[in-house]
């Protein structure tokens, strides 16, 4: 924590220098109200640090910070934005913004993105764009991939697979040794979405996946069935832990820690609890989801978390300055460092922390994600489709024989939802 504060003080000094010219001398004043969903311990410290630093830069500005529970915020945001809206809020990128953009609750910040400062954020611009305008700024993102027990792989003489055949061969060897290949907890449904994202995009490519997300492909399409057929190969092998429908993802981690399962498909946020549970970096390693169809460019799940200005904001000037502040290279370096968020900075000029997994993720996303960047099932698909879809995915993982019925239901939902 001490390091983070030091780093952010340094960042602050630099940021003052960087944005001083921009603000041409006149100080910000009044109130700035921020509602943040960064409620887990490390993110909370980051958010409080950000506000403290920003407040120190603008002594006349009175910043009011409310940190609300991350899951609670997903339902509270509607009320928060419509009645007495704050100036700045947290949310997620891509389609997940749609309801608030359509209802005119997020402010169009395209003018910010036109500034020179934002050129360094070009790689995330697409995820922030709807209807040709930008509706917020990102502040962090993280890779998804397969986190596995290197010691188990070594014991069985396995290496990181790059193709689907190798993946299945590895998995068979793991099963033969009396373990499960993958742990997963699908009680809250979304974890199954990660598997679908990867198997679908690796089978048919990013464009097909996004067409499906946009409702342009029928769920009963043969290509979708092919995706599920690939997934089913793993299910029929007995690759996944049993009773996963009764577990949250946190409850599914002990299987990996105790060595009853060899791997988990998850975002980088899984690393911290796994380390806390006692796995060392020698035991835990990471590999990119393998190729399924030869020649399909790999697309990666890399969900982006964001800041937005409410359209009812009272202090727009200060809010925009805050958005410039959080995306500046030095603040990005500081808040995404290993002892803070431990994720990837959105600013190309920021430096990536020297954490093993963050580095592997950064390398993968920079050099080997030519297919495209997905935001995740529940952020790329519209809310209703995502909720119906994830329920179907969970059912499929438990009762793969119900597939035709599930797909018919999803197709029915698709025809109703996309108009």
């Amino acid at each position: 924590m001490h390091n983070f504060l030091k780093a952010s003080t340094a960042a602050l000094a630099l940021a003052v220098a960087a944005t001083g010219a921009n603000a041409d001398g006149h100080a910000l004043s009044g109130d700035l109200r921020i509602i943040s969903d960064m409620s887990n311990p490390a993110p909370r410290a980051v958010m409080e640090g950000l506000v403290a630093d920003f407040g120190a830069m603008h002594p006349d500005l009175n910043i009011e910070l409310d940190i609300v529970d991350r899951d609670g915020w997903k339902t509270q945001i509607r009320n928060a934005l419509s009645a007495n809206p704050p100036d700045v809020v947290n949310w997620y990128a891509a389609t997940r913004m749609t309801p608030y953009v359509d209802a005119g609750l997020f402010m169009d910040v395209s003018d910010l993105w036109a500034e020179e400062h934002f050129d360094a954020l070009a790689s995330t611009k697409g995820a922030m764009t709807l209807d040709g305008k930008q509706w917020g700024v990102p502040y962090t993102y993280y890779q998804w991939g397969i986190y596995y027990r290197k010691d188990i792989f070594d014991e069985l003489g396995l290496s990181e697979p790059t193709t689907w055949e190798e993946e299945k061969a590895n998995c068979q060897a793991i099963i033969d040794s009396g373990r499960k290949c993958y742990t997963i907890g699908t009680k809250f449904l979304w974890t199954a979405g990660g598997w679908f994202d990867y198997i679908n995009s690796r089978t048919h490519g990013y464009d097909f996946h996004i067409q499906l997300a946009n409702g342009e492909v029928e769920w009963t399409d043969d290509r979708v069935k092919q995706t599920f057929a690939n997934w089913r190969e793993l299910i029929d092998m007995g690759a996944f832990v049993e009773d996963h429908q009764s577990m949250s993802w946190q409850e599914s981690l002990p299987a990996l820690v105790e060595g009853d399962a060899a791997a988990i498909l998850k975002g980088n946020f899984a690393v911290a609890p796994l380390r806390d549970a006692g796995l060392t970096d020698d035991q835990l390693d990471f590999y990119q989801f393998p190729t399924i169809t030869e020649g399909v460019a790999p697309a990666e799940d890399a969900p982006t978390d964001t800041f937005h200005i409410a359209s009812g904001a009272q202090n727009v000037k200060a809010a925009k300055e805050f958005l410039r502040f959080v995306t500046s290279a030095d603040v990005q370096t500081a808040i995404n460092s290993g002892d803070a968020l431990g994720q990837l900075p959105v600013n190309a000029n920021a430096s990536v922390s020297d954490d093993k997994f963050v580095n592997e993720g950064f390398d993968m996303l920079s050099n080997n994600a030519s297919g495209g960047i997905m935001q995740f099932f529940d952020r790329d698909f519209p809310a209703e489709m995502a909720s119906a879809g994830m329920e179907g995915l969970q059912e499929f993982m438990v009762f793969p024989d119900n597939l035709d019925d599930i797909l018919a239901r999803l197709e029915d939902a698709r025809q109703r939802i996309y108009k």
């Binding site: 359509d102 209802a103 009680k187 809250f188 049993e242 009773d243 429908q245 009764s246 809310a383 909720s387």
Partner: protein
């Protein structure tokens, strides 16, 4: 004319003249106002919203009865929720005989009986969320006590009680029965205090005991307690929301949804943006409840008339 007939009336204020008629209404006014504001008006608002397609944020679009046509014309989630509600209704009623049995058991003067009574009442005092959590640990596959117990009989429930779509709803109802039985028990315990000892004495002299005593002498005197127990149990069954939210979140794959949970999911949850559809579900649930409430009000009215 009245002025001429009774000159004193003129000297009394309007309020004084109408005091007896007006005062009860004055006392009722705050209650009526708040009941109207928070209960009656929202009911009609729900009716109104259910005719619109609305995401809770933007413009409302009039769709007429389309939501109801969809709900009643083969929405599978609705069907599952509806039948689960029916299961809840009937199985939840087990709390009434259960509560009566425990009340009879505890209605005696033994040393420390107050302690036993409070222990039996305990589940009703703690939060439903806590009861739900305790039961979900109890039901855990492999490690849960329930799984170990049935495991010794060679029964293996695939996915655990709450992970198997065939057992999950029953598992939640069983959890709900625990506090509800305690509630019925306390209703019967107070009822038993009011049982007339002379009638029991008289019945005993006539040679009644055991089942006959219970059925012909005690139970008729417990009728008011039974009535209240029925009402609170039926209403409790229809608004069973907390247990489902805590124990399964509607899953696995939506098999434990009930109407109230489905309504929440469609309109207010993380992915729910269909206020109109949620309102339509609420309206259907409202009419189901109204059916029972009307029945109870009617039987209460009939009883009161009979008593006169």
């Amino acid at each position: 004319m009245a002025d001429i007939a009774s000159p004193t009336a003129e000297t009394r204020s309007w309020y004084k003249r109408n005091e007896i008629a007006v005062t009860p209404w004055l006392f009722l006014l705050p209650g009526i106002a708040f009941f109207a504001l928070y209960v009656i008006i929202p009911i009609f608002q729900s009716f109104w919203i259910s005719f619109y397609e609305w995401d809770g944020l933007g413009e409302k679009v009039w769709v007429g009865t389309a939501h109801y046509e969809r709900l009643l014309g083969g929405d599978r989630k609705f069907e599952v929720s509806f039948w689960n509600n029916i299961k809840w209704l009937f199985l939840y009623l087990l709390a009434i005989p259960g509560g009566l049995f425990i009340a009879l058991l505890l209605n005696q003067t033994v040393r420390g009986i107050r302690l036993y009574k409070s222990l039996f009442f305990f589940p009703f005092v703690i939060s439903q969320v806590v009861v739900g959590l305790v039961f979900s640990w109890f039901y855990l596959p492999n490690d849960g006590l329930f799984d170990i117990i049935v495991g010794t009989f060679g029964i293996d429930i695939k996915g655990g009680v709450l992970g198997n779509p065939n057992t999950a709803t029953y598992g939640i109802i069983a959890a709900g029965l625990w506090p509800q039985t305690a509630y019925c028990m306390i209703l019967y315990l107070t009822g038993l205090n009011a049982v007339d000892p002379e009638q029991v004495e008289a019945a005993r002299l006539d040679g009644a005991k055991g089942w006959k005593m219970l059925w012909y002498v005690i139970l008729p005197q417990l009728k008011p307690a039974t009535f209240i127990a029925f009402v609170v149990t039926i209403i409790g069954a229809l608004r069973s929301f907390d247990f489902i939210a805590v124990m399964t979140n509607g899953g696995p794959f939506g098999s434990t949804r009930v109407l109230s949970f489905y309504m929440f999911e469609e309109s207010l949850s993380e992915f729910g943006f269909r206020m109109g559809y949620g309102a339509a579900i609420a309206v259907v649930l409202f009419f189901i409840m109204l059916f029972f409430i009307t029945y109870f009000l009617y039987s209460m009215y009939r009883d009161e008339k009979g008593a006169r």
